[in-house]
């Protein structure tokens, strides 16, 4: 293995799971989500000589992923990942049920709100990094995050009310 490849393995490869987690919620088809991550890693490998080692590698990889996603946008329909009904039915304990409800509430958001919550809350990126990844002003990220949090709470409150009513 070359030095460059060894470095890529250590710096970039540990983040494929994070990329896949986000890609699965951008693209409806799981195989297409994997292809998107593979394309991302290939582009990252090709541009690895340009990566500045003192910057956030995850933010760099996510920027490549979203560029690839937008470039392929006409092919990859933006849609939330879905959990098969059987899988949901199997999860009967209350903790699993709560997890499924939160996951479903996230999927019911629009792609912009879902994206900022995934990047900011789940992946722990800063508003500035998200702004850079999505090529939007930081103010846009802040307002999307605020609206997304509110929408999530509304979704979960609705689900809670529906459960109590039934």
């Amino acid at each position: 293995m070359s030095t460059r490849q060894n470095e890529f393995e250590q710096i970039a490869m540990p983040h494929t799971r994070s990329l896949l987690r986000v890609a699965r919620r951008l693209v409806s088809d799981p195989a297409a989500a994997e292809d998107l991550v593979q394309e991302t890693m290939f582009l990252a490998w090709r541009g690895f000589h340009q990566f500045q080692r003192d910057t956030n590698v995850r933010a760099w990889l996510f920027r490549i992923l979203f560029n690839a996603f937008h470039a392929q946008g006409r092919k990859l329909r933006s849609a939330p990942a879905t959990v098969p009904l059987e899988a949901q039915e199997l999860r009967t304990d209350s903790r699993a049920h709560a997890v499924a409800e939160i996951s479903q509430a996230l999927d019911e958001l629009g792609v912009e709100q879902r994206t900022v919550l995934l990047l900011g809350v789940v992946e722990g990126l800063t508003c500035r990094e998200i702004a850079d990844i999505l090529s939007v002003p930081i103010g846009t990220v802040m307002s999307r995050l605020a609206r997304a949090r509110e929408a999530m709470r509304n979704q979960l409150t609705l689900k809670c009310s529906a459960k109590e009513a039934s």
Binding site: V37, K75, R77, C127, S143
Partner: protein
């Protein structure tokens, strides 16, 4: 700091991006305003639940890691030459077809791009090369197994298959070889949703395309071989499909 300002700045506070002066102001506001303090507590709690829930979901990435590693170790020189040629061709095709802006035109551009990535550049994909499994995939798409083998009479060996999406629609992607060059045949059962362009053929730098429609199928053939090679395979396939 007003409540409105505090709520607007809350995303920066939660991500730890408020500078120290604004941070002190923000904290002071929370001390004085129970409503904003409760709002922040609820946001933090929801963030924690969301993070835990999503990170708890099963996610299998071992096979993906393997495919990524496989794509890194391919001979670099060939990849660069192929990628450069392919990108140039794809741009020309996209430029020509997107001006037309029809669903069929987008299918052609997608087909050329998939052929470049998956066949010319050999980016790792989940191909099926077992012949009976290929038959099963074809049947699942309403395509006759004997039809996809018809080009073998003309010296084209069916090597592998997978399902793919062109313009968002599912197609059967078959790869044939004549011993020297590989050909992609993208096939879709007509009843599912035919492409709308008339049968034609085109030469575009590195990638050459031919398309046809029969009563049962719509198809696009892509290859890097010129001299009407795409059209020859298209004709063989069209007779049988």
């Amino acid at each position: 700091m007003t409540c409105k300002e505090a709520i607007a700045l809350s995303p920066l506070f939660l991500s730890g991006e408020l500078d120290s002066a604004r941070g002190v102001e923000f904290e002071a506001h929370l001390q004085a305003c129970s409503s904003c303090a409760r709002e922040l507590r609820e946001q933090k709690a929801m963030d924690a639940h969301l993070r835990e829930a999503i990170l708890e979901e099963p996610l299998e990435s071992a096979e993906l890691d393997r495919r990524v590693r496989q794509s890194l170790v391919r001979p670099t020189r060939w990849r660069w030459i192929a990628a450069a040629a392919g990108v140039a061709a794809a741009l020309v095709i996209a430029g020509l077809f997107f001006r037309v802006s029809s669903p069929g035109a987008i299918v052609y551009a997608d087909a050329a791009e998939d052929h470049r990535r998956e066949v010319v550049e050999q980016q790792a994909r989940r191909w099926t090369s077992d012949q009976s499994a290929i038959d099963a995939i074809a049947q699942g798409q309403g395509v006759s197994p004997s039809g996809i083998r018809a080009p073998e009479a003309g010296g084209y060996r069916l090597e592998r298959a997978k399902l793919c999406r062109l313009n968002g629609n599912l197609y059967l992607h078959l790869v044939y070889s004549d011993g020297a060059q590989e050909f992609s045949l993208f096939l879709r059962h007509r009843e599912q949703e035919p492409i709308t362009e008339p049968a034609n053929a085109g030469d575009r730098q590195n990638e050459h395309l031919a398309a046809f429609r029969t009563a049962a199928s719509s198809a696009v053939v892509v290859t890097e071989q010129n001299g009407g090679a795409a059209l020859r395979l298209a004709k063989l396939a069209a007779r049988a499909l």
